[in-house]
Amino acid sequence: MSGQLPGAKELWERFMATMKTRAGLVCIATVLLFGVTTGVARDPMATFLSILARFSIFFIITLSLNLETGHTGIPQFGRVLAVIAGAYAVAAIPGRILAAAMGLPCGLRYGDDTVNYKVVPRVNEMLAANPALSIGVFVFSLALAAACGAAVGWLCSRPAIRLREAYLGISLLAFGDVMMWIGHNWEPLVGGSTGVFVPDPFAFTGGGRLEHVIVVSILVVMAIGSLIFVEMITRSPLGRTFKMHRDCELAACVYGRDIVKVRTRSLMIGSALAAIGGGLYVFYTHTCKAITFDRATWTFWPWAYMMLGGIGSNIGVLFGVMLYTVIRYNIVVRRHFLEKVVPFDPIWLDPLLGGIMLVLIVLFLPYGLVPEKPVSTLPRRQIEEMLKKVRARSGKSGS
């Protein structure tokens, strides 16, 4: 019966079978590490929320990178560019619109720190009194971030038409750096070197732990939504075209695929997703400061997460981001244990171990912890039935 759902016993057997694979072991290790980190913390709830928030934001960004690099084969070394686009859009536009509606300074002066610190709290007061408007502002801001990200992706796709590999990678990296410097130097955009406050669309929850829980829950939902979205793309004809482009451009051309369109679509979708990640980050931190969007944090680390999890594997990316986030969290938070042992600030162990780990992954685990698997485009049950029929036929012919 093709429409029948698997029973509890079958589901349990499948689960146990998965747990015995490498993916299962990675899953167990990740959950254990996360559990121990949270359990031994002084404030388990705060630790739990903090790790989940970091994980969710970086998971969205790394997924977008995986879509462009892992699935399409574009050397996206300028991930920070789309993240910045989303962050700037969320930090610069909705606040100005709300300030204008309230008759507050909203033009170029909005970026001035002496003005911004007075305007944004008043905007927050208004948002706190209007939950419906707050949710509208949140949704509009993310849509705006996605649109800006897609526009940036389209712009990035222009050099991608002509350039390949190193040329393209370096060009994208340079674009990201320049965008950061523009934001850092041009104060009216997002406050220059001092940054700006970002309106809080969750002020109506009353602040404190409750707001933190709600915001992190939304981040997690967004992360799960992004995973489903990317997984659906991966299994769709578009996703298969992306992979065809990655594996052999010539073959894609032979089968009538327009390489430029494929690259443009991948870059636009990926950049829109990364921009949403950037927008969520500034919402979470309530501030936007251009200099914080450096290439190490927003390009190199997502690459490291993706490499650890497995290039082209969405589930691998999930574990890669979680595992790395928990390890980095432990180094940063528990560095005081090492302070008396090592003659330097243990915070540097984070990039040191990260760099070494990245090299080791490239050398000894090139497909990551959970390597990419061929995507089955038909439902599992249907494939199993087809297999049964084929086996039955071959059995008959054999006898």
Binding site: G169, I170, A174, D177, W303, F344, W348, P351, G354, V359
Partner: protein, 317 residues
């Protein structure tokens, strides 16, 4: 007498040219776009700084040591990371990724080294103005002459090495066609190693020189890495001479060009200094994607000669 900004600009451009040349040499031979070049440059600066603070003298006398240290970093990268990947015929993206990991780890070692200098040796290594330790020659900082001489001497030496020595010819052959070079008995791995030694050495030497014109910090190399890449790409990525020229052009345009624009439009422009290399890089990729080395120099010279009044009899082919 040249204005001080032009003198500093030429020093800066010469150092960028050396670093861009290092990137190109490594890329030409191993197909590896070395992200760790930035941190290798920073290490070059710190070697000079620490030796000068501990042993005195002049900073310039430690430049060869910086070169050697950079070469050593290159050797470590080659044997530890690059060679296994090259043997496995890894893709250019994987090769780039591996150097990214090396860069992150090297940057961490610089930070650790700075902590050590601060806590143990009581130095202040996180913000160093090396220009205060300059020696003046005819009223001009000595680093200006060193940078200029090296920017001229390196291409000459490189040309002599590649055309007049047996190993240089073997190196060119390997770069042109590694498979064919292997067939005729050239050890490609020796060539790759030599590329990493020269490339790493030039990165650190360039870093030591460039610190004479900009503030030395643990992230100094990362701040100028886009300029290095721009120089290398402007040069064409497949020509060491082109990268030297490209690096020099980008360096001058960034340093002196920003100053000229700022003196005309206002000081606010100084903050956008990093945009200039990007514009040059984007322009060069759009107009002549193979860089300066890919330009038909022969045809251009011939066209120029044709435009000038003829002085001799034209010979038909």
């Amino acid at each position: 007498m040249l204005p001080p900004v032009v003198i500093s600009g030429i020093t800066y451009a010469g150092a960028i040219a050396l670093m861009a040349c290092g990137i190109t040499i490594i890329y030409m031979s191993t197909r590896t776009f070395n992200f760790a070049h930035a941190t290798m440059a920073t290490w070059g600066f710190y070697i000079t700084y620490v030796c000068y603070m501990l042993y005195g003298g002049t900073p310039y006398q430690y430049f060869p040591l910086s070169f050697l240290f950079g070469a050593m970093l290159g050797v470590i990268c080659y044997f530890g990371i690059n060679r296994p990947l090259l043997r496995r015929e890894a893709s250019p993206i994987t090769l780039m990724m591996s150097t990214m990991g090396y860069d992150i780890a090297l940057l961490a070692t610089i930070q650790i080294f700075c902590d050590y200098l601060t806590y143990k040796l009581r130095l202040y290594p996180r913000r160093v103005i090396m220009s205060t330790y300059e020696t003046m020659v005819w009223g001009v900082p000595a680093s200006f002459f060193i940078s200029l001489i090296l920017a001229i001497a390196i291409p000459v030496a490189l040309h002599a090495f590649l055309t007049m020595t047996k190993f240089g010819v073997a190196m060119r052959a390997t770069i042109e066609n590694p498979t064919l070079a292997n067939i005729i008995g050239i050890d490609a791995e020796k060539v790759y190693l030599a590329s990493w030694i020269i490339g790493g050495g030039l990165a650190s030497l360039g870093g030591a020189i460039v610190s004479m014109t900009i503030t030395g910090t643990p992230v100094m190399g990362n701040m100028i890495v886009v300029t290095m890449f721009a120089g290398s790409i402007l040069g064409g990525l497949y020509s060491a001479y082109g990268s030297l020229l490209g690096g020099f052009v980008v360096g001058i345009a960034e340093y002196v060009g920003t100053w000229l624009l700022a003196s005309y439009w206002g000081g606010w422009l100084l903050g956008y200094r990093m945009v200039i290399p990007l514009i040059i890089m984007a322009g060069s990729l759009l107009v002549f994607p193979r860089g300066l080395a890919g330009l038909p120099w022969g045809a251009l010279l011939a066209a120029l000669k044709g435009a000038l009044p003829s002085r001799g009899k034209e010979v038909s082919p």
